[in-house]
């Protein structure tokens, strides 16, 4: 930012102050090298100085201060110890900055370029960056790009889906400003607002946003320029930009399809407005009249008509907008057909008779066809993963740059499709995994070269479908997961005994436990603070799993296994007091025969039961769901053991039936949301069964005893 004289004067006096502060803290650090407050003050001074110099246009000072700041960041995050040598170097840097500031205040150049480079190299050696090659990387990216002006070849058409958060206005945003910004880039060919989310008047809140838009824009601008419009909002909202120029191939303008022939003819200059209105008055087929009157040659007319037909065909093929409700009802119908089929199947078994073999065989075929039908219908709601992957490509690149690491991002399986909802819920876990790969997996170019690897690391995102599941892989070729680090941390946390030997799988399991993080400090750069446990919780909720494969210095691969659609769920069918419930299978760790003698009472109301060497609390369904008297001694015959990731417990049940795959229907739509219940479904025999929400259940049952539990665990550790 160019500055006026007054600003410059302020800059000089502020810089003087900052340099003095920096010096003070450096001298204090000399006697107490660990003092966090001095390190913080030193860091802040240089940081502020850097920004200020940048603002008034002294880029050499700003660049140099930036390097010093990087060095201090390492000190601050504990990666670099404060030594006498370092303090000497830093004092020298401060002096050098001061000499540059003095020069500019006298109207001279900031520094001799040679001296400056020498000084920079000195700091880079400490940072472990080799001289010139990394200069580019040091250059901050232009932070806010001006809308690029260079035109792409001819026009492009983009389809833009805008679905903003309901709370959009709360962050001071305005969708109309965004539409306005977009409209400056080109011409809106089509704008379709979606008002279906608008609630009834009584439920309407003027502070919420209910409308979403679909826009087709014709523009000379690049994809990036369009994306820039959404810079502030693209991470929190669903913004999809699609280049649909391809669909306009062979010069067919889909606009033609929507226009009247007369309009097109006038536009093409074949006839004039007057001729058109005269012809229209005659109320015959427009084309015929024009030819009859000799206003147009039959061939010319044919050409335009053919063109229009062609365009209409393309138009029909490319745009099919369907109300989402229609798809939901299809899903429902497909499902009901399935239920009907199983009923009929059961009847055939019951009333056995001649020819049953053949009938059964045919029925089985029909069931298979129906399954595929259900799957296809579910597929209508699916989107390719491309958009999500592209976002992570960018994120990985930015993160690596910040840490002076070099990476190449490979994306495969971009066409792989996933249910919209599953995509939404997978974004967060993926973010954590990418962070993990870059922060912990990937080495710096120097480290890599020392190991004989190419300096540029590789991160690969890969998606594919197999056996009715979607797999998403994130692979890096970094240093692999540090098992001794995990073990140390687990011992520190008191999860295992110091001499305990554990399998690699068991150690990896700790990584996804709440409260686990191998790096002792949360760095500013990665901005973590939430651990990998979030990944597991979110995947559990989706009904997905994660598999980790790691090899020292070869790298790590995380494989996420996701359901095709969030609505399909694997459940275990159980009976409690004659009512059937469905327990999400991925949280079930085991089932056992119930032996009343093994129950131990713990406190007034808690009962525990031994399971695989542990005592797990029992969650009595009869208590929490208020379905009659608590089964004190009970008629429970079996126990289902659950691990929600946060807590493990057992549920006493009367009967364990078979596992099955169901489509969950939410209760909100037909009733209201109920804590502890994820939804309901109709079983093969036509009866309704409730699906348990284990996290909710856990909260209801254990929320009062959480504190007690924590104490209990601590006591256990103390022993």
């Amino acid at each position: 930012m160019s500055a006026d004289d007054e600003t410059l004067q302020i800059f000089f006096s502020e810089t003087e102050e900052l340099l003095k502060l920096a010096e003070e803290s450096l001298l204090a650090l000399e006697s107490t090298p660990e003092s966090a407050s001095d390190i913080e003050q030193l860091f802040r001074s240089v940081h502020t100085l850097k920004s200020g110099a940048g603002m008034v246009g002294y880029t050499s000072i700003s660049d140099y201060a930036h390097l010093v700041e990087n060095l201090l960041e390492r000190v601050r995050s504990g990666k670099l110890a404060v030594t006498k040598n370092l303090i000497t170097l830093l004092l020298g840097s401060i002096d050098f900055i001061r000499s540059m500031v003095d020069s500019v205040s006298q109207g001279e150049a900031e520094a001799d370029p040679e001296v400056l480079n020498e000084r920079k190299d000195q700091i880079k050696r400490y940072l472990g960056i080799d001289g010139i090659s990394s200069l580019e990387r040091e250059e901050p990216e232009p932070p806010v790009k001006e809308a690029p002006k260079e035109p792409a070849q001819e026009f492009s058409f983009y389809k833009i889906d805008l679905k903003f958060r309901k709370e959009f206005f709360h962050s001071g945003q305005d969708p109309l400003l965004i539409l306005l910004g977009l409209s400056e880039l080109g011409e809106f060919v089509e704008v379709v607002p979606d008002l279906s989310e608008l609630p009834d008047f009584e439920d309407f809140s003027m502070y919420d946003l209910y409308i979403s838009w679909q826009i087709i824009i014709k523009t000379e601008m690049s994809y990036e320029a369009i994306e820039d419009v959404f810079m502030f909002v693209k991470d929190d909202n669903e913004i999809r930009i699609e280049d649909i120029t391809e669909r306009y191939r062979e010069g067919i303008d889909i606009e033609l399809a929507g226009k009247k022939l007369g309009e097109v003819l006038v536009e093409k200059g074949s006839i004039t407005e007057e001729v058109l209105s005269d012809a229209l008055k005659k109320q015959k087929m427009l084309g015929e009249i024009l030819v009859e009157d000799g206003k147009i040659q039959p061939e010319d007319l044919e050409k335009v008509v053919a063109k229009q037909e062609e365009s209409r065909a393309v138009y029909r093929k490319t745009t099919l907008r369907v109300d989402v409700e229609k798809i939901h009802s299809l899903v429902n119908l497909a499902e009901e057909t399935g239920i009907g089929l199983s009923k009929v199947q059961a009847l055939f078994e019951k009333y056995a008779g001649p020819g049953q073999m053949e009938i059964t065989e045919e029925m089985e075929n029909l069931v298979k066809v129906n399954q595929e039908f259900q799957e296809r219908v579910a597929r209508v709601r699916m989107f390719p993963l491309e958009g999500t992957f592209r976002r992570f490509q960018r994120m990985a690149r930015d993160l690596a740059l910040e840490q002076n690491k070099q990476i190449k991002v490979i994306l495969t399986g971009l066409d792989t499709e996933l249910d919209k909802e599953v995509i939404e819920h997978t974004t967060d876990p993926l973010k954590h995994l990418v962070r993990n790969c870059i922060d912990h997996g990937l080495e710096t170019p120097e480290e890599r070269e020392a190991k004989g690897k190419p300096p540029t690391g590789i991160i690969e995102f890969k998606a594919y479908q197999r056996a009715g599941k979607i797999f998403v892989e994130i692979r890096d070729d970094g240093k692999g997961i540090d098992f001794t680090g995990i073990q140390r941390k687990a011992i520190e946390k008191g999860w295992i005994e110091p001499d305990q030997v554990l399998s690699k799988e068991a150690l990896l399991g700790f990584m996804f436990k709440p409260g686990f993080s191998t790096s002792s400090k949360v760095t500013e750069v990665s901005g973590r603070g939430v651990g990998m446990d979030v990944v597991k919780t979110q995947l559990d909720q989706l009904g997905g799993t994660i598999d980790t494969h790691t090899e020292k210095d070869k790298g790590t691969t995380f494989t996420l296994c996701l359901p095709l659609t969030s609505a399909l769920m694997e459940v275990l069918h159980v009976m409690v007091r004659g009512i059937s419930y469905l327990v999400p299978l991925q949280s079930v760790v085991g089932t056992e025969k119930f032996d009343n003698k093994l129950v131990k009472s713990f406190g007034a109301r808690e009962r525990v039961y031994p399971f695989r060497g542990d005592y797990l609390p029992l969650a009595d369904m009869t208590k929490i769901l208020d379905i009659g008297m608590p089964s004190a001694n009970g008629n429970s015959t079996a126990l289902v053991f659950i691990d929600t990731g946060r807590k493990a417990f057992g549920i006493p049940v009367d009967e364990v039936l078979k596992p099955q795959q169901i489509i969950v229907k939410t209760l909100e739509k037909n009733y209201r949301s109920v804590k502890g219940l994820a939804g309901a479904t109709i079983l093969g025999d036509g009866s309704v069964s409730l699906v348990l929400d284990l996290l909710g259940l856990e909260e209801i049952f254990f929320k009062n005893s959480f504190e007690g539990d924590a104490n209990y665990e601590n006591e256990e550790k103390a022993e």
Binding site: M1, P140, F232
Partner: protein, 127 residues
């Protein structure tokens, strides 16, 4: 009427140069030296019934940082006023923190006047 912008930053250089640029562009600017001062300015505007079109705030400040400041603003009647946070390149996490607190956008230091005005255009209605 002139659009009114509150600019919160602990660096006098930043305050001077940004205010200079904003005033040149025809905005009325109120400055605050840190989060606490910012809260006081906002509260006094609230009492006087002044209008406020935009808040621009640094994140890394003594006394009360930008995140704390934003959450205080969200308790006032100016909670729907757009907020731009200032960050530097190395602070991607800051953008996230700001956004979680309810900021509308961000701007990376150092920036050119055009970049500042470009970011403002994204969140404030044109005059």
């Amino acid at each position: 009427m002139e659009k009114h912008i509150l600019f919160v930053d602990d660096s006098p250089t930043m305050r001077s140069s940004v205010s200079f640029c904003l005033r040149n562009a025809g905005y009325r600017v109120t400055e605050a030296v840190d989060g606490e001062d910012g809260v006081e300015k906002v509260q006094s505007m609230e009492e006087k019934g002044e209008s406020l079109s935009l808040i621009i705030t640094d994140i890394n400040m003594p006394k009360m940082d930008g995140v704390g400041f934003i959450s205080k603003v969200k308790e006032t009647e100016f909670k729907f006023v757009p907020i731009l946070v200032l960050t530097t390149v190395a602070e991607e996490s800051v953008i996230k923190k700001g956004r979680d607190a309810g900021a509308s956008g961000w701007l990376m230091k150092p920036f050119q006047p055009e970049q500042l005005l470009w970011a403002i255009k994204k969140v404030v209605w044109p005059k």
